[in-house]
Symmetry: D2
């Protein structure tokens, strides 16, 4: 092996991985950093990759592609966790996998690497798509191979002159993309007490939200969000706009304790204001427009769709078949839903089928 394409986030873990992989496998390391809307300065990330020893560092803006080809199908499929929480991190994995494979092809190698440690579904969600897209390829997870504690990683970086990233946010492990933010606490999982201050970043504490409610009119055309409160905009802008408004009203926090297959429950925090509000509105419109018998079958598909994402099967025939099902349903999902946002809660207060007639003036102008 002479070249490894590494998914590089810019964190300590990833920087150590550059040096460790080069040393351990005697390989050239090519870093790939993807912009999924996490809001980090990716130019400086690229510089850190090179400083850590990468021979090349690619930065890819995949936001549009992520929104249209991954987030939208999941929204239309109604794919949420069993507790109603939206899938955000797991949705981002397949596109990361695809880009890694694309760059690997360009770089003439079939070996990729990533920084996931061996916990939860993260690794499955990334590695399964890589294998689906590049049969026979190899995936290395350095964090699962080495035996370095965090202080040892810092020491490892220092000895090799690898620049350390600015102090990372305390004890939280965060994954962000434009559809949502997942936070895991490193320090035990007390399910009773309030989450520590600073844990949530894009949603306001309901106690400090405006006293007046806000109303959002969300219009869908054939299942695609197409306008917010009368203003037509592309899907990515709908996400950004709804995220800002709903977040300002404290909507979109998920605080859940989820039992494991064995062992104690794990407390998970998510904040996904756009996802929560758009799933709510989309589901309401389907309740209004889709006949009962079809709705019942679609609910089964929603559960399967979420499970499919969770098992890393995005690039597989099962998604293709479910997407075909969902597409015929979406042809009927045109209308507007009015949502009331207030101090942490979002409620549907109105819904109507079809598109509003454009006002007389604008039609004259045509």
């Amino acid at each position: 092996m002479d070249r490894i394409v590494l998914a590089y986030s810019g964190g300590l873990n990833a920087s150590v991985a550059v040096a460790w992989l080069a040393q351990h496998y005697g390989a050239e390391i090519v870093c790939v950093t993807m912009d999924l809307g996490q809001g980090t300065d990716l130019e400086s990330v690229r510089e850190r990759a090179l400083a850590a020893g990468a021979i090349r560092a690619h930065v890819l803006d995949v936001r549009e592609e992520f929104a249209r080809q991954h987030v939208l199908p999941a929204l239309q499929a109604g794919a949420v966790f069993a507790n109603g929480g939206p899938l955000a991190t797991a949705l981002g994995r397949p596109i990361i996998a695809r880009k890694l494979v694309e760059i690997a092809r360009i770089e003439g190698t079939s070996t990729v690497a990533h920084g996931c440690s061996d916990q939860g579904h993260d690794r499955t969600c990334l590695e399964t798509p890589v294998h689906a897209l590049m049969p026979g390829g190899r995936v290395i997870a350095p964090a699962c191979e080495w035996d370095l504690t965090r202080p040892q990683q810092i020491e490892y970086a220092r000895q090799r002159g690898i620049p350390l990233p600015a102090a990372e946010r305390g004890s939280f492990d965060v994954d962000t993309n434009l559809w949502g933010r997942s936070i895991t606490r490193g320090d035990g999982d007390d399910a009773w007490t309030d989450p520590p201050a600073g844990l949530f970043a894009i949603t306001r504490d309901p106690d400090r939200c405006p006293d007046e409610p806000a109303f959002l009119d969300l219009q869908f055309e054939q299942g695609i969000p197409s306008a917010v409160s009368g203003v037509t905009m592309p899907f990515m802008d709908v996400i950004a706009s709804v995220s800002t408004i709903a977040g300002a009203h404290g909507v979109g926090r998920v605080d859940a304790s989820v039992s494991g297959p064995a062992g104690p429950a794990v407390r998970e925090f998510h904040e996904a204001p756009a996802a929560v509000v758009l799933h709510l509105a989309h589901g309401e419109l389907e309740s209004l427009l889709i006949p009962h018998a079809l709705l019942r079958v679609k609910r089964g598909i929603s559960t399967e769709y979420a499970g499919m994402i969770d098992q890393g099967l995005w690039y597989s025939p099962v998604r293709e078949a479910m997407d075909a099902f969902v597409a015929t349903v979406q042809a009927r999902v045109t209308g507007t839903v009015r949502i009331r946002l207030h101090k942490g809660s979002a409620h549907v207060v109105g819904r109507k089928p079809g598109l509003d007639e454009p006002p007389a003036e604008s039609r004259k102008a045509d």
Copy 2:
């Protein structure tokens, strides 16, 4: 046929039914009115029954039985509508059916009657249990047989000197019991506009709720709600207490538009503050305490349980089998959930397994 046992609510419909049944079938009419927690003065209902021509009028307080034998199993089974709304009206039907059959046996007849008109599942939910409990019995639904408009009913009552009930609440059709309140509007189903003032009765408008949130600590012992914020109380008192507090914070309203098998969607309103909060807390505790593999199967059972209630199959082997499943799960559901109530929303903010140790003093006293 010489005697008919009629489920009598005290409304115009029911009063006309007394006279109509006596005339049409040449039968003695025995009225039965049940207290399921609807909060009506049942003594005056009894008097109206006799004034309408009933030879006897029974009033039965079935609240305790309803709470323990019907509401609690549905809570533990997680039986809610597909949109998350709690089942209240449909839950009350089987106990009404059983009491009708019991009184019919006492009265020496096998004919019962009720006031449901032929809409929705109401009739199925009442008649199917009657037939299950009294095979070969007969059920009469006068409102499905006669052809009387409301003004004609009033005229019919006037001619026969039947006392008219005080003006009924405008254009709403309401069904209330201790687990919730369902409201149907008679005047079309505009799904876009706000519901008319006065439609909700036991939940406050979120806009006029206290500015400060309230917190409820809900303790469950083996799946049974056993204490509210540290105060131990029986299940019926938990319902009343949670209903009052949650209702005061605007929690428990459901405003949904539900597509029919054919034809346009119907807008339904429910308010069920205790049901919404207790289902939320109970579900959260199961997420914390029940292994993932069991939780997944139980979710399927929850859907089937709601469907079973909806189809009027309460007194049937399918409930028995699902209750046995649910019972083994509930043995593990002991713990406390903290709920934050604020301006129409209820969120879980803490959960812990097990029972709190009694404070040191109380233990000393032992």
Copy 3:
């Protein structure tokens, strides 16, 4: 109303219906008889219709359309009863409904009639599609309205000079189309004893089948049966061919006792040699070719598809959505399955993916 389009089978029931409808509704009766492969002489049926008083009698050969647009989707969807028995009668109803509606439009009326009595799903399966295709139309089921015993029907026919059909097969009620044959016994449902002689017509008694097994190589191209033992033929010919061979080896009998929602179980007989063998082969090929995760979801769709047919929802968005799902799966279902037929049993003994290479000679010829 001046004209009624009646689905006319040629039986006593149907002949009486012609006269009864004309008399009762003062209408002109137009009869429609469809050839779904039941193997009856339809020209004589047409004559009987006219003799019974119809002003016109249409005979339509819908076999090709039935096979391609109804049987094939159900085969590909894997739609069988819970006990594995194939759906044949219920599959035929929607096409009968559609042709009735088409003829009604041509005849300038919106009233149709049929001979189903009010038992089982037969009526639902016919009337629901009619209402879906002709909203606002009217469906009359004379056999549910009149109060005529069989002897009374004969008397009714005699008095009006309606020719009686040749003695109908004893006490069986039979429905046949090219996909299968369903038999209901009129004389009680003893589930223990052997079915009476003569009940089965297209499958041989396993005791009297050949001693040597037969082998069928069934080839599918993208989910469509395309060749039998190396001979390429259209789907309708595959059905006929497999039906003959499998029937001769006693394969395809279903003898089941099915519990009702209430009351005793009903014994049902079916014989559907082609359906049984083709479902077996198609399912085996899917097991071979479809990834496990997709197969699991498809099994859920199969169950829903059978339920959809059973509820008469063929012309509805739920079929459209499920068909789209199934279509993406079928794109992968190309290969051959070898079936062994012997004295009533059919077993898979071989399966291979892809199409056989044409032999060298035939390629030279190209």
Copy 4:
């Protein structure tokens, strides 16, 4: 670690494991061999264990326990593979796990070992129950750790004077217990050709079966098989008796090609005459006796039950809950089913509810 309890089958693999574990872990090896009805001479197996270096070798007859506590619940739950094939190997794993743990406790150790290599679900099905029953215990799978080809294993055994087992059956990998036999071929998975001669051992080739069919009357009392053709016998004897008769008529072979999550389909062979016939009869009796609505929910439970076994979750709350469901259903399953066995096929030809009255004479004798 000073002592390891090893599940010992007597094969080459297992004998090498005794020496390898002793050497590698410096531990005393205690062998445990269980009689699940595989029909091997277990006394000679014990001797081989000692000859291979075990310090002690336990032989346990667990047939009765296996039949009553594992096979019967799976039969009553209707737990079969998606293709209808019965679960036999996977059903045996949990009892092996439990006995290993019990012996480990007696032997004062918390380390157990087994011979499964890392293929399919075998390892999961064994290790998951061990961990459930002995949290914190350790499971060693030597065949997954060493890197020995079969010839190397033979050489390893020879060098250490370990007696080699009599030549093992060619290229098949076989697992047998009283409920069935699973065979995997080592030499590729051609899904088209006939299985090699000698692959099946307990079912006769349909071509060489008796020309006359056999009939079995299978009686169930509350879901428990209690009599075969009028002769009352315990469940284990029912299994043996049905297995012999059905096997002689070629019934119970499963030859299936099952697609993997990725990669090519795998061909599996099973023979399980008693399982196939008893599942058929039990299912038929449920169809006759269980109301439709309950049957539908039970079918979902059957699928989940098979999945639970497959995932090694026998000792977990999910089985407990499903067993409680199934138990209430079985209370209704009393009756007799008549099965016709002929040249490889088994068909239901009669069924009746309840128990037969004992004949007059036998009652006199009371």
